[in-house]
């Protein structure tokens, strides 16, 4: 765990570029520092490996004040990846990766094995690349080596300062995917600086939004997106951002929270009445009436009711039990896929406790679009002024 306690940093002794920063980064967590240029992201990161030192406050790793650790020792146990990569141009890929193991006196076989293993880990064929020089590699390949080199002595903590910013969008996306895969496998504590919100949302377990040397909001991507703490965060995230990340929209955001229901013992006449009243043609059949949590047992539509209007027909006899429940955290993309593939217009949302939480209907999805369009209207109105 990396912990900042009331950390301030001034370069000139007058103004603080970092101001009373408190931050707790858990082990195995990928934390994003995001903010505009000059907001102090790089400074914050560089204080972790003592490339810069705090003017006041304490930074500790696993409870140990980093000022009590020899900086060389400290840095060798922290991987460091920068935007400009900084491979040693006069050394081969192998020599680049093996440098810190070499300085740590690893024996030759162990070093060589590690270099090959790391190349494979970053998806480069060792037989092809191990003896090449950095300038023979593309930008994306060089940064893969940058990552491999940072992992060489298997540090627990890795610092990455805009590592993919200089790459073209396609390569960037590939490297992001691979970082996620790698992180799944290795569970490092990663501090990742970026100014790209898409990247932050995609990679971060948690995101720290920085402004003027302070952390404005430190939260999961979902919360940053859905509950921005103030206008700045909202502006920074971008109003229409949610739309660009449909995988961040979950069933619980899309669903109607109080869908029309009917209990097992009710009659078709009652069903028709409810449909009329609620202006819907889909009723969720639940195990009991009243306000207590209910379990979904089926559904009825006008089709189930056809020709069964007599009072002795109860819902339990005529309902369709072939409903497809989704969980609250099923995302928009998955929801749409299920609707399309299973040809359903309605999906009940069921919580982990097994009770009905809501219903996704075509209308509820359409309403989401309507909301977004209202937002756009607002923006246009602003421009006209």
């Amino acid at each position: 765990m990396i912990e900042f306690k009331k950390v301030s940093k001034s370069y000139d002794g007058k103004t603080n570029v970092i101001e009373g920063l408190d931050l707790k980064i858990n082990s195995g967590e990928l934390v994003i520092l995001i903010g505009e240029s000059g907001s102090g992201k790089t400074t914050t990161m560089k204080m972790i490996n003592r490339l810069h030192e705090p003017t006041s406050g304490i930074i500790s790793i696993d409870g140990k004040n980093i000022m009590d650790i020899n900086p060389i020792e400290l840095r060798r146990n922290i991987g460091y990846v920068i935007q400009k990569v900084g491979l040693f141009p006069h050394m081969t890929i192998k020599e680049n990766i093996e440098l810190i193991p070499y300085l740590q006196n690893w024996d030759k076989e162990k070093r060589a094995a590690r270099a090959r293993e790391l190349l494979e880990l970053v998806d480069l064929d060792p037989d092809i690349y191990i003896n090449k020089y950095p300038h023979e590699l593309s930008g994306g390949q060089q940064q893969r080596i940058g990552v491999a080199r940072a992992l060489a002595v298997n540090p627990d903590v890795i610092l990455m300062d805009e590592p993919f910013s200089a790459l073209d969008p396609i390569t960037r996306e590939q490297l992001q995917e691979e970082l996620l895969k790698l992180q799944d496998e290795l569970q490092k504590t990663i501090v990742f600086v970026t100014h790209d919100m898409d990247e932050a949302l995609k990679l971060g377990d948690r995101i720290a939004v920085m402004k003027d040397g302070r952390v404005i909001q430190f939260d999961t991507p979902e919360n940053i997106l859905k509950n921005p703490i103030n206008d700045f965060v909202e502006y920074f995230v971008g109003k229409d951002r949610l739309w660009k990340s449909p995988e961040m929209l979950y069933a619980r955001d899309i669903m109607v929270k109080k869908p029309a229901t009917i209990s097992l013992q009710r009659t078709p006449a009652k069903a028709l009445e409810i449909m009329k009243e609620k202006r819907t043609d889909y009723l969720v059949v639940v195990d009991q009436a009243g306000d207590r949590p209910k379990k979904v047992v089926g559904f009825v539509t006008p089709r189930e009711l056809r020709n069964k209007t007599e009072a002795e027909h109860k819902m339990k006899d005529i309902m369709n039990t072939g409903f497809i429940p989704v969980s609250e955290t099923t995302n928009m993309v998955e929801v749409l896929n299920i609707m399309k593939e299973k040809r359903r217009k309605n999906l009940p949302v069921v919580g982990e406790d097994g009770y009905l939480k809501g219903l996704i209907t075509q209308t509820s999805i359409l309403n989401l679009f309507a909301d977004a369009i209202t937002d756009l209207d607002d923006d246009e109105g602003g421009d006209d002024k």
């Binding site: 060389i72 840095r75 920068i82 040693f88 006069h90």
Partner: protein
């Protein structure tokens, strides 16, 4: 006196020419070696302590700017004449290109490379030894090459204060109004400069790290 061809004149004195060439190389070589031993560390030092760079380069520049003849003249009251003052003056001449190229060579190493090195836990001396010097080596070598070639020229003047070398033939030829003798000194001196320049150029090429060649 029977007119001899230059070639005959030259062949008659070939032993002397060879001896003086050797002497010439010895004076130049000693001066350049001293300048390397002193200049490279100074160049490294001022690349670490940037504030020192301007004053140091300024002083070295003064030696370079002074006319060589004037410098030889100035040194006589202090060190007298002979080999030692000659080598000393040539040494001063060789300093600037060597200090300057060491300084620039090390400074021109991509800051991102240094940052990566520091960030991954290399010490200052490891970075210097394993990164900065190897990357600056060909630039340093270029400085050594310039210094050597300049010194081969300047060393001919050192004959004036009794250093020997090919300059001896040139100045004696001038005073005796003997064109053949002048040429016996001047031509080997010119060829020597060209040859050494070429040789050191080869060295420069071969010490350029493979990863940087053909970029």
């Amino acid at each position: 006196m029977e007119r001899m061809s230059f070639f005959q004149f030259f062949m008659n004195r070939i032993d002397q020419v060879i001896r003086l060439t050797g002497q010439h190389l010895q004076i130049t070589g000693t001066a350049v070696l001293l300048a390397i031993v002193i200049g490279v560390p100074i160049g490294i030092l001022i690349s670490k302590h940037r504030k020192l760079a301007n004053p140091v380069l300024g002083i070295a520049n003064v030696f370079q700017t002074l006319p060589s003849l004037a410098l030889f003249g100035l040194i006589i009251p202090i060190l007298g004449i002979g080999l030692v003052p000659s080598i000393f003056v040539l040494f001063l001449y060789a300093l600037l290109p060597i200090i300057k190229n060491t300084y620039t060579g090390i400074n021109n190493v991509d800051p991102a490379v240094i940052e990566a090195g520091v960030g991954m836990g290399m010490t200052y001396s490891q970075i210097l030894r394993m990164v900065q010097i190897p990357l600056a080596l060909s630039v340093i070598m270029a400085g050594i090459r310039i210094a050597t070639v300049i010194n081969i020229g300047t060393a001919t003047i050192a004959a004036l204060i009794g250093a020997g070398g090919l300059g001896e033939l040139i100045f004696r030829g001038i005073s005796m109004d003997n064109a053949h003798m002048i040429l016996s000194g001047a031509i080997p001196a010119a060829l020597l400069a060209l040859l050494v320049d070429w040789l050191l150029g080869m060295v420069e090429h071969f010490i350029t790290p493979k990863g940087l060649r053909g970029k």
